[in-house]
């Protein structure tokens, strides 16, 4: 089984580029140029040097002793939360801004859900002196205020997406429409492994630094490159794509994708795309997506703004359908409890998105000798108001019970 993209832009049955003609020229340029540009020595040098000195890579692989004791196993945390801007998103935006510069683009657009990708895009635009417009659903602007403020501080214009359900899917639609209107001077920095080919592959390549580091870091700790499990949360799936990338052909490594169940997979308020989704087209990609029988796209629900996307990256659809990836689901409540647990037991407040991955630990039946790497994709500062509300509703949790 082949897990990486083929020449036509597909992962098995999923992927491709189902785009209106208005986008064809831009997508075609990206497709013909991206591998070439990424392989150039000058690109690699600039990319690696920014990742090192600006982002702060390599991000540590930290042995979580107390968490390991709690689950009676060995758990390592890949600390993407320690990157500049507080999440894995910046790995991709650094890559894409360097690409955009080489393509001669002067104006950058992006979509954002939780705001992490928006902040990471605003950051690299400031760094490179390029105009930055971030589309964000009006609803998300309301629930992710700290990140909106950060984007503005960084000089980006945050444009509310007022169409549809006013969340991530609609922000993506608006960004695509902007690109149709401004095809020649603008580059669209997609924040996840979604969208038309070559985006899913391009974003996965920029995020693949996560698993590249994991290999040598685990070897330093344990004398072996391969863990038994790698666990990551999946909305569109970019941190997961990066954490899985160099392990896909190592079949002894079980890869675990954790989706947001919202109020429960079958509650009608969920973002569990792999269960609730059927094959269709969203944002130019053939993948699993939540839709009605008539093919109208359904607005998903999750407490986490970064996971309520009705689709899933085409590579993940392929990994899940082929059985390569195992899927767990974490509800809002489980994610909140996991966030609290990690905060209290390791002193690390994770992003709500990331907390979903940690909620899977309860369900995985890990053995004592198993080694698991958790992709700690982002930090939770942006979610403090949600956490505070949770603590207020659960007064027993105010004091640590450990």
């Amino acid at each position: 089984m082949k897990y990486q993209v083929d020449e036509l832009g597909f992962y098995g049955d999923f992927g491709g580029a189902f785009i209106p003609e208005m986008l064809h020229s831009n997508i075609e340029t990206l497709k013909s140029e991206y591998k070439k540009i990424i392989a150039e020595a000058s690109f690699k040098e600039e990319f690696n040097s920014l990742l090192k000195d600006y982002v702060g890579r390599p991000s540590p692989l930290y042995f979580a002793k107390r968490l390991s004791e709690k689950y009676n196993t060995k758990i390592y945390l890949k600390r993407e939360d320690l990157n500049h801007t507080g999440a894995h998103k910046i790995n991709n935006t650094i890559g894409q801004i360097l690409l955009a510069k080489r393509l001669g683009k002067k104006r950058i657009i992006a979509e954002t859900g939780a705001g992490q990708h928006g902040v990471a895009t605003a950051t690299v635009c400031a760094l490179m002196g390029l105009e930055c417009i971030v589309y964000m659903g009006k609803v998300d602007i309301g629930r992710q205020a700290p990140n909106v403020a950060r984007m503005k501080m960084l000089g980006a214009e945050v444009r509310p997406a007022l169409s549809g359900s006013q969340t991530l899917k609609d922000a993506t639609n608006e960004a695509i429409r902007d690109w149709i209107n401004n095809p020649s001077n603008t580059h669209y920095i997609i924040g996840s492994v979604v969208g038309p080919h070559p985006y899913p592959d391009m974003v996965a390549r920029f995020q693949s630094v996560i698993s590249e580091e994991m290999k040598w870091q685990l070897k330093e700790h344990e004398g072996r490159e391969n863990p038994n499990y790698i666990v990551a949360c999946v909305g569109g799936g970019s941190n997961a794509a990066g954490a899985f990338y160099h392990y896909l052909d190592d079949l002894d490594v079980k890869i675990v994708a954790v989706e947001a169940a919202g109020k429960g997979v079958n509650s009608g308020e969920s973002a569990a795309t792999s269960v609730l989704g059927t094959i269709g087209i969203i944002h130019g990609s053939k993948t699993l997506l939540m839709q009605t029988e008539d093919g109208q796209i359904i607005e998903p629900y999750s407490i986490s703004a970064g996971l309520d996307y009705p689709g899933i990256g085409p590579q993940h659809a392929h990994l899940i359908s082929s059985g390569r990836a195992i899927v767990y689901h974490a509800s809002d409540e489980e994610a909140l409890a996991a966030a609290l647990e990690l905060s209290r037991i390791e002193g690390i407040i994770p992003a709500l998105e990331t907390a979903h991955a940690f909620a899977a630990l309860n369900k995985m039946h890990l053995k004592k000798e198993d080694i698991t790497i958790m992709c700690l994709s982002g930090r939770g500062d942006k979610d403090l108001s949600t956490f505070t509300a949770y603590l207020d509703k659960n007064p027993g949790q105010h004091k640590s019970d450990h």
Binding site: M22, N181, Q296
Partner: protein
């Protein structure tokens, strides 16, 4: 004979194609709009299938889509409405919709329904020409459904030739790099683009759309092609209408 074919073999200029979204402003307006457009001499009608995520469409069509969906419009109902309208109407009808809607309905079932209900052609902006060519060309022929591909100012000559080869309804010439619904005048760059396409001497008739909203833009488009497509401007007119047939007659009189 397919009504699109008859149209284009009998008329070579000033073909007026008007777009509206099925189910907007009301669920049952479809037939009334079709009759009124036909009565007022519109040559071709493009019926939009309302979609939750119309990525190439501007605000006007997005809103009409959202209203149509909340009115309970769906594909099966649309096919029934087109079929019913065929008792009195013989105007060529093309459906415009996004690929996902057809995939979920089932492509062959969709094409068969087109034939049974009297739909003459399709516009599917996000269906790649390569996929149509490799997977669907025979099916479209089997059910005698014509297809129209889009070209834009950014489309290479090579792809324009491909669109010419594959399109058997008309070629949809997108007037500029934009989503639907702009209403500025046609500038010199656009005219040069139209002239460039004219000089290519394509075999398939061309209709110019996007931004065509009044007599002047309609005439300019007609000067450079076989005709023009009006969408958002028409929907804006329908939005406030209390008498659809009167509104339509006044609108068409303003255009030509």
């Amino acid at each position: 004979m397919n009504r699109l074919e008859s149209l284009f073999s009998n008329k070579y200029k000033e073909i007026l194609n008007v777009y509206f979204t099925a189910g907007h402003p009301t669920k049952d307006a479809t037939q009334d709009i079709i009759y009124a457009l036909e009565q007022n001499g519109v040559d071709l009608i493009e019926v939009g299938i309302p979609y939750s995520d119309p990525m190439a469409d501007g605000e006007t069509i997005q809103k009409s889509s959202a209203i149509a969906l909340s009115n309970g419009m769906n594909l099966s109902l649309l096919f029934q409405q087109v079929k019913d309208s065929r008792r009195r109407s013989n105007v060529p009808i093309v459906l415009m919709g996004y690929y996902n809607q057809m995939l979920q309905f089932g492509i062959e079932k969709f094409l068969k329904q087109c034939q049974l209900s009297g739909v003459d052609g399709l516009i599917i902006p996000d269906l790649p020409m390569s996929i149509y060519k490799n997977e669907y060309i025979d099916l479209f022929d089997k059910y005698d459904v014509k297809i129209s591909f889009l070209i834009t100012p950014e489309t290479s000559d090579e792809r324009i030739r491909l669109a010419d080869e594959l399109s058997n309804g008309f070629i949809y010439v997108v007037s500029k790099s934009s989503i639907t619904g702009t209403s500025s005048n046609i500038d010199d760059a656009q005219k040069h683009y139209f002239e460039r396409i004219e000089k290519m001497k394509l075999n398939t008739p061309r209709l110019i759309g996007f931004g065509i909203h009044d007599k002047k833009t309609y005439q300019t488009a007609c000067n450079h092609s076989q005709g023009a497509i009006i969408g958002s401007a028409f929907i804006r007119t329908l939005n406030g209408s209390s008498d659809i047939s009167k509104t339509i007659s006044e609108f068409i009189n303003r255009i030509r």
